[in-house]
């Protein structure tokens, strides 16, 4: 297809745009349009599209502008809330990750100390701990402070405390996120 626009097209288009066709059209131009394919196409298409626009615009069902305005405002408000709450969520996730890391490091360090406790457990059947009569007599010799400071009880207490803190933190995080 060759691209050969007619030199009169601009003039015809201006007349159509101003609504002056065919009243203000000279006889010479009118004769040209009836003979020129390009101008004829322009005239036919422009008139049909303008007519279609007028008809379609008259049957347009218009929604309430107030409803659209409020809908837009709601969208903007939701976007603003989301924009503000995004860093809070990020901070919560960061805190959770930091907590998990600290807890993991703590548990690993405690596990090293607990190795001695496992060795003590293996020796437990041979020890006097399961011989209750001897145990009671030995208990009399032990003070409560000594019991607490022993490796067995401190490892257990710290592990329980760490677990409590960990699960507590997760529970608090989930609860605040739901809110």
């Amino acid at each position: 297809m060759t691209f050969t626009p007619c030199s009169h097209e601009k003039e015809v288009a201006q007349l159509l745009a101003r609504g002056l066709w065919p009243q203000a059209c000279s006889a010479e131009l009118s004769a040209h349009v009836s003979a020129c394919r390009s101008c004829g196409d322009l005239l036919l298409v422009s008139q049909l599209f303008r007519q279609a626009r007028t008809e379609a615009a008259s049957e347009a069902p218009l929604a309430s502008p107030g409803a659209i305005w409020w809908r837009a405002q709601l969208c903007r408000r939701n976007a603003a809330v989301e924009r503000i709450s995004r860093p809070i969520l990020g901070a919560q996730i960061f805190a959770l990750v930091a907590n998990l890391l600290v807890a993991t490091v703590f548990l690993i360090s405690q596990a090293r100390h607990s190795l001695g406790w496992f060795a003590w457990l293996e020796q437990l059947p041979q020890s006097s701990a399961l011989h209750f009569e001897k145990l009671w007599t030995s208990m009399d010799k032990l003070s409560p402070v000594a019991l607490f400071t022993s490796g067995w009880s401190s490892a257990l207490t710290i592990s329980a405390l760490a677990s409590l803190l960990l699960f507590g933190g997760v529970a608090v995080y989930l609860a605040t996120e739901k809110e």
């Binding site: 626009p5 036919l44 049909l48 626009r53 347009a60 659209i68 837009a72 408000r77 809330v81 860093p87």
Partner: protein, 193 residues
């Protein structure tokens, strides 16, 4: 503290203070009254689906209002604001065409069939409708913007996102094709069926 006060102001309804200010309701209502009909006509005739045109027209206005500074657009002039609105609508139409179409007849709205059955009643629609249906969506957009809305090639390029230099050639081809379809209805396969 800052975060709490910002959040509370947002929740209390002072979002415009946090984000950009919204266009005044009255100013918008005036702009809407003047621009809604041409926009709907564009969407309805290019998509050949009045129900879709309803949805997309509303969405276009919501996006227009949610845009960075609609009041600045109005300050530039209503012509610029209207052009921006048509640009949003054009992008929404393009997104719609890119999405997979409804495969089941139950998914189509009732208005779609009503509009189709009424199509033959209107003269321009009876003549232009079948010819437009044979055109590519992009050509339909170009033709409507140029010959129904009277936009210049530069404005069409701005609205559609196409290169300004290519608009002239694309329009010429599209116009020649639709003129042929209008002059020779036998060449239109949709009309024959």
């Amino acid at each position: 503290m800052l975060c709490e006060s910002t959040l509370s102001s947002v929740l209390a309804g002072d979002a415009p203070r946090v984000a950009q200010p919204l266009m005044e309701n009255d100013a918008f209502a005036g702009f809407y009254q003047r621009s809604a009909r041409p926009l709907w006509a564009y969407l309805a005739r290019v998509s050949a689906n009045p129900a879709l045109a309803d949805d997309l027209a509303q969405e276009s206005y919501v996006r227009f209002l949610s845009a960075a500074r609609p009041e600045l657009l109005l300050a530039e002039g209503e012509v610029a604001a209207r052009r921006y609105l048509f640009r949003i609508a054009t992008n929404l139409l393009r997104d719609h065409w890119r999405r997979p179409q409804a495969s089941s007849i139950e998914e189509l709205p009732e208005e779609f069939f009503a509009a189709s059955s009424n199509a033959a009643q209107a003269d321009s629609r009876a003549i232009l409708g079948p010819a437009l249906a044979c055109m590519r969506p992009r050509d339909r957009q170009l033709l409507w913007l140029a010959y129904a809305e009277g936009y210049s090639h530069k404005e069409i390029a701005e609205i559609t996102g196409l290169a300004s230099a290519s608009i002239r050639l694309l329009l010429f081809r599209a116009r020649r094709k639709i003129a042929r379809l209008l002059r020779e209805p036998a060449a239109n396969p949709r009309r024959q069926s």
